[in-house]
Symmetry: C2
Subunit: 535 residues, 2 copies
Amino acid sequence: MLLVLKFAGLCLCLGLCRGLQFNDVDEEAPSAAQTSKYGSLWPLPQEVNIAETSFKLSSSTFRIVDSKQSSAGPSCNILQNAYRKYFEYMFGVARKQEFGKNGRPGLSELTELQVWVTSVDSECDGYPSITSDESCDLSLNVSLCLLSRAMSQLILSPLSFQKNINATKIKDFPRFAHRGILLDTSRHYLPVKAILTTLETMAMNKYNVFHWHIVDDPSFPYLSRTFPNLSQKGAYHPYTHVYTPADVKMVIEFARLRGIRVIPEFDTPGHTQSWGKGQANLLTPCYSGSKPSGSFGPVNPILNTTYDFMTQFFKEISSVFPDAYVHLGGDEVDFTCWRSNPDIQKFMEDHGFGHDYSKLESFYIQRLLDIVTSTKKGYMIWQEVFDNGVKLKPDTVVHVWIGGGSNEELSKVTASGYTTILSAPWYLDYISYGQDWQKYYKVEPLNFNGTEQQKKLVIGGEACMWGEYVDATNLTPRLWPRASAVAERLWSHQNVTDINDAYSRLSAHRCRLVERGIPAEPLFSSYCPREYKAV
Amino acid sequence: MLLVLKFAGLCLCLGLCRGLQFNDVDEEAPSAAQTSKYGSLWPLPQEVNIAETSFKLSSSTFRIVDSKQSSAGPSCNILQNAYRKYFEYMFGVARKQEFGKNGRPGLSELTELQVWVTSVDSECDGYPSITSDESCDLSLNVSLCLLSRAMSQLILSPLSFQKNINATKIKDFPRFAHRGILLDTSRHYLPVKAILTTLETMAMNKYNVFHWHIVDDPSFPYLSRTFPNLSQKGAYHPYTHVYTPADVKMVIEFARLRGIRVIPEFDTPGHTQSWGKGQANLLTPCYSGSKPSGSFGPVNPILNTTYDFMTQFFKEISSVFPDAYVHLGGDEVDFTCWRSNPDIQKFMEDHGFGHDYSKLESFYIQRLLDIVTSTKKGYMIWQEVFDNGVKLKPDTVVHVWIGGGSNEELSKVTASGYTTILSAPWYLDYISYGQDWQKYYKVEPLNFNGTEQQKKLVIGGEACMWGEYVDATNLTPRLWPRASAVAERLWSHQNVTDINDAYSRLSAHRCRLVERGIPAEPLFSSYCPREYKAV
């Protein structure tokens, strides 16, 4: 018996077809949850049909092979890495012995998974992009099998050490193309290992964008080749709390192999206190009366040196980060310091800005956007930049983050013809008691006033984990499975809204994460067959 | 140069004198916090005096020895285990190489720590109790030392791999005798390792009571030798989700070596759904109209078999758990099922209880208390038992947990002459955004109306981590350092209330926990010299 996985484009990560999303967890349903007919599938595929008949699987005979018709084969790194990973997920690593592998009579064996990439361009060596085709079909046909007994009993038998897989048809593709997680490595430094663990778990939840909010006021951990003083002076520690070029490369490659884009954010002109430590004259000197107070405000927008610096800096960034987009921030600019500075005041007068400092902000951003455009990159910006009327490239992605009024904002942004992503309802750093995953799950991103055309401009969303109260000690259990709820909202069909069914699948999904070594926290009183052991 | 640690009683855990609470963390202050003159001491000792002069320490020469006058020596397990642990804390384990151990000229070396237990009964083989003397003095005298240069510079030098310790005098004892953490192993099963990690961290925070809320409605993980069906049927899984007698023994011994009492809670008559699965006729059958509905309510208080069972069960418990106290619960009894049951109704009539089911509850509890008293144990109970007017032994500990009105409750309980502990403000499972440790820290347990005599009856408090949303994946970062805030409130002097000083010390303390492998979450944007690496 063989199983064919058929991808329109390179699926980038075998897990994108979740016919393979079974494991021991499915065999023992968590006690508290009623079982979903979709088992532990998460996020739910667009179309799925699970028959009652099942096939046995044995690690000694099961093979994943490239279909003859496939446009990608043994030389495709992405694919071969995915084969190894999913084989391990399916059969575990060495510690898990396989018992009874001769199986029971009457159960057909599935011995081969054929992977068929149908697109001409297999993208094996490329990077994922907003236009990557993530659709795939899985069909496990039962017509060849003679089944002597009810297989479902075998599947549920807790004494069965044999893996089984049900006959299944899946037709799958994402509802939104941009499904991201924001991590903040400035408020707390996250060791690379914590980032890689997040990427690994993102892949298990079909996230495809890592929004790396890499620097901010508190620290500047990005080690710039062009301006090494930025991290030398601006990081929490110049050696132990920085991301070296090798670190950044590793993160990008680790993400690429999992079909995840890495979009770095270098937020300016606000949120830049740490930049000032290693780059003289970059920030605005604040005044107390007629004298500099010794403290600094946002990036100084009136000096040519500022733009020279940004030109060099973003030239580096454009070559270090392969993604077509960079996030330029532009949020929460505090005008107090600009107002206090006599040189700024004079500049405002000379340019006829009056006392409207948002015009000065726009002046700065406009020049920055031009600089970044010259590096051949597209950009994302936080919503304030749009709100302030800055002239944006048509392919700009406006990032909506302000809670209360985000529907109105989506209406406005899309009415102006810009693509947009939503984060406002998904600030996962805001914790509260109870099952708040439901709140995230119930969000409908297209629930705003607008034409069909406008709705199409919403290309996705991001769950944000800001770092004030989060570091490597609590990141993973705080992020998962709460971010899994957002993942399904962004992937699955709009009508997938049954909260009880979601509870059941998500409970099983979180136990699968735990089984794979990810400390994803529980939804409610319950247990996993194998509890998290470390620490 | 030598240092003498003098204990009134056996300190049970060397760490109880925190002159030894230094490590590399102190050498590099966290960026965000202003530094406290008490460094990273947590909880703050009752009296502490740190001089500017310091001594060097080297793992190759430093020794911890039993003072000649000490009543405890090499044969004292508790002490020897503590020596090893604190030596490791001080100098790290193998991975940390010691550089420059020949040190700098002019810095006196501290080569010996003499430990002097002054009490006649050293308690080396015994268990800690509510009357254990936890006081200790530490005096590191500087009069012998000639110091050629300012030592503080050396201490702060980030390039110094040498450990230094400041001349210090400490006189210490706890404000409250009962300082506990409640873990709930019923709503989620916690692997033994997670419990041991909690005990280890409790010792680092001078907690001395582990309140083991071991069973409850969702599951019964306690493996009873007398009634093995209780866990066989009532645990989430009869093998993987139970605490065997060996597990329980290990937890108790691990705790004992750290000066921590283990008080198990077997909560009845409510919160007992899981008991009913393995013990027929123990729970009250609920009725729907004139017929049993198939569901069950609280323990059935009208059957003699119930009391026979409890007698046998608590006989086992009294021998398994060495502590002088057992927690009997008695909270949140729902009368709905009792009301529905005709046999119960008749019993109520026969006993003249009318329709006051709290009288039936008291009837049950009264008999249970007698049973437990006959096992020579004292008991703790949740406040409802006191509120319902049950006759209690004079040494009963009433556990105040209901938020809003806890001050009034403390007044009433102590006015009645009972000892009491407070948990109402310290339900750490209720999470919220931000620095909620401050809320826990600001609680003043004796801020209720009552005489001096009444105040003395408040013997302490407990931080509770109920398990609805907590298992091994998120327990540790959710518990620490939030429970550290409670620890200082229960240990240190009433006037230790400076929140900024606390922030500084607690930030450093949490980095020390991280350094020791405990994933304690951050207070706010900041960093630790060595971030948490695992996962």
